[in-house]
């Protein structure tokens, strides 16, 4: 299982096949709290997470909080394959939680990481995941200060599951919530949609696409910081993870009791992503992203907001719609490129490729 998965889409570079306690795969005792568990920490986790001088604590970390409000979030990461073009489960686990903090207008102070490992999981693959997490954390300017590992019997897991939690400091003056949406606000997206979901899907067995599509997996906290630093009055932020653009906007509209209007022709979509969606009958508006978000800002501030996003490395920031009027229960309306209108709705379960 892990061997098959471990070979797909591996990042380039040297790998250390060093076994832990003589084991090249995870065994039950690695989670038992005894000598092997200790060896696993010392051989795999500490070298990666302590490289920046942090001391990783197994029971809990103690640190001083700066003044002002804090944000706190958690998310669990399960993805198959573990490595995909443009990212891997380690990057997702770090940046996903950093991004969740950013959506609260907060910059990360510290992360925790919990691992559920499946008996038989390749030690070399685990090491690469952990190193990828350490690199992602360094890039985001945050440390992983505490963690936990558990091992489940073979067949009871999927290689590795990771949970991360994060504490962040809310940027002074930021007040971000669907409640702050106002009619007339512009909806700005930081980049093209649906990349991550399609990148992962097309790596699964049964697909033989010639060109790999890179995931949009990224740390967006720098882009949020740039918006706030530019003095943009950000009313709300939402990362477009599960459910994609549509499900997240429907949720915001419902929370705010407002009608949102989108222009289909303005929605950014890469040609190759659009083509795969077309082929499989998937609606890209419902496909997950891992490095994309929407910002609700006053219409007058759209040009400086786009400039700030661009300056902070957003791939192709663009205004995609606006908040139109009060509407009990909320509503998201998409104006199609031929001028007709339709509702965007919550998806009914997972999207399934269609017959014809």
């Amino acid at each position: 299982m892990s061997a098959e998965r471990g070979q797909a889409g591996l990042p380039e570079g040297p790998q250390c096949p060093l076994a832990v306690g003589g084991h090249e795969v995870i065994v039950m005792a690695h989670g038992g709290g005894g000598r092997l568990a200790r060896q696993l920490l010392e051989a795999v986790f500490f070298p990666a997470f302590e490289a920046d001088g942090t001391r990783v604590h197994h029971d809990g970390a103690v640190f001083a909080a700066p003044p002002g409000p804090l944000a706190f979030t958690t998310d669990s990461y399960v993805v198959r394959p573990l490595f995909f073009p443009g990212g891997d489960i380690g990057k997702l686990a770090v940046w996903g939680t950093v991004n969740d903090l950013a959506m609260c207008g907060a910059l990360p102070l510290a992360l925790s990481a919990g691992f559920i490992l499946e008996e038989g999981f390749s030690m070399a693959t685990l090491r690469r995941v952990v190193q990828s997490m350490a690199a992602a954390a360094r890039q985001a300017g945050v440390s992983i200060v505490t963690g936990d590992t558990k091992v489940v019997e073979r067949g009871c897991g999927d290689g590795v599951y990771i949970n991360t939690a994060g504490v962040g400091r809310v940027v002074a003056g930021a007040d971000i919530s669907p409640r702050r949406l106002q009619p007339g606000d512009a909806i700005v997206a930081n980049g093209d949609l649906a990349r991550h979901g399609i990148a992962v899907l097309t790596q699964r067995p049964g697909f033989e696409f010639e060109n790999a599509i890179d995931s949009d997996c990224a740390d967006v906290s720098g882009q949020v910081r740039a918006l706030l630093a530019a003095g943009i009055e950000v009313h709300c932020l939402r990362d477009l993870t599960r459910g994609g653009l549509a499900a997240n906007l429907v949720e915001i509209a419902a929370g705010a009791g407002l009608r949102l209007r989108l222009e289909e022709s303005a929605l950014p979509l890469a040609d190759e992503v659009a083509a795969v969606c077309e082929l499989l009958g998937l609606d890209p508006l419902y496909v997950a992203c891992e490095g994309r978000f929407v910002a609700f800002v006053p219409a007058a501030q759209v040009p400086p907001a786009l400039a700030a996003l661009r300056g902070a490395g957003a791939p192709c920031p663009v205004m995609i719609g606006e908040v139109s009027a009060a509407c009990p229960g909320g509503q998201v309306i998409l104006r199609s490129r031929i001028g007709g209108e339709r509702l965007l709705d919550m998806p009914s379960g997972e999207q399934l490729p269609r017959i014809c």
Partner: protein
């Protein structure tokens, strides 16, 4: 995306809509046959561009919707057996039979797999010689050639662990049955382009001639549909009833003879039930005796059963264009995509599901 984007051009769509408004002088009702077209109409809001007096009726061409409940029950019964891999197109997984659906069978331990091509099933059968691999072969004329190819290859390769649960339907007999009903409202058809890509346009000449209705072969993009509507309306206004091809970048008059030959070799025409509508003579395909060894119903000794449908559901009338989804008292209340009562709500391309998803409050086109 080349060959797709060009057919979603807003300026050209507005131009066609203007031409349509000029062409229509009195009320007309035209049915788009295929669920993919219904989906495109509601997704792009094509109906909102049309003149008031042109009504679109939504046809029965959704293969997921019209798959009989008993086939779904049989698929679930097979999938629940140990030692079986049941393969299906993705959108069949959520469709409820009389008690459950394939996603639930999978959650309870059944090995249910989504395939993207019937030929993927061959590889699965080779890779799992100790297990029975079953394919749920559903669809219209569109999927019949690839499904026939699977069965033909399985026979040539002597695969004894592969079988198919066949639910293939044919469109023209269903159109004829609809027009035979005295209360029908259809004055013209937009035929399903992909069906015609296989079958050609010949089968529709009989329908157009016998029932005096224009049939225009249509594609699935906004401009395809608007252009086909314009041709259809011009025929109606001029009192003509011909078959025209507005999708000639894909459909040849004689279709795909090689694909048809393969379908003929593996399948024979048979009478079959359509979920929500009932039994239609000669509207389906069944395995020929030479390929009977691949019939999953016989291989697994499944009983023939007929499952009743909820009385409140007006699926039959919706699928034949007599009523619109919003006319149903259960629409959006008891009947939603999460809890569908009938055929047109079970698949995203069914008319009820499309209205629920894209219009909700509206419920009816016009």
């Amino acid at each position: 995306m080349k060959y797709v984007e060009e057919f979603r051009d807003g300026r050209l769509a507005a131009q066609l809509a203007r031409q349509l408004r000029r062409a229509v002088t009195r009320p007309w009702a035209v049915m788009e046959v295929c669920g993919g077209q219904t989906h495109a109409i509601l997704r792009y809001g094509i109906d909102q561009l049309l003149p008031e007096s042109l009504t679109l009726l939504h046809g029965p061409g959704c293969p997921v919707c019209i798959t009989p409940v008993e086939i779904l029950d049989q698929a679930q019964a097979i999938a629940a057996r140990p030692g079986v891999i049941l393969c299906s197109f993705g959108d069949m997984l959520r469709v409820p039979g009389s008690r459950s659906d394939l996603l639930t069978v999978k959650a309870r331990g059944g090995d249910v797999r989504v395939v993207y091509s019937p030929l993927d099933v061959l590889a699965l059968a080779h890779a799992n010689p100790d297990r029975q691999v079953v394919f749920l072969a559903v669809g219209f004329e569109t999927t019949a050639p690839a499904n026939a190819m699977l069965i033909h290859q399985a026979q040539r390769q002597g695969l004894e662990n592969l079988s198919v649960l066949v639910s293939q339907a044919l469109v023209p007999p269903a159109l004829a049955a609809m027009l035979d009903a005295p209360e029908h409202r259809v004055q013209g058809f937009l035929a399903a382009g992909h069906v015609c890509a296989v079958m050609g346009i010949e089968p529709y000449r009989a329908v157009a001639g016998r029932y005096r209705v224009p049939v225009v072969v249509a594609g699935f993009e906004p401009l395809d549909i608007l252009q086909a509507l314009l041709l259809c309306v011009r025929q109606l206004e001029a009192g003509r009833a011909e078959v025209e091809n507005a999708y000639d970048r894909v459909v040849r008059s004689d279709g795909n003879p090689a694909a048809r030959a393969l379908v003929d070799r593996v399948f024979a025409v048979a009478t079959r039930p359509w979920r929500g509508i009932g039994t239609i003579p000669d509207s389906g395909l069944t395995l020929r005796p030479e390929y009977a060894a691949f019939d999953a119903v016989a291989r697994f000794g499944l009983p023939d059963a007929v499952a009743p449908e909820p009385a409140v559901c007006i699926a039959g009338q919706v699928l034949t264009g007599l009523r619109q989804p919003g006319d149903c008292p259960a629409f959006g209340g008891r009947c939603t995509p999460e809890t569908p009562l009938g055929a047109p709500m079970v698949s995203g391309e069914g008319a009820c599901a499309a209205y629920y998803r894209y219009r909700r409050a509206a419920g009816g086109s016009r």
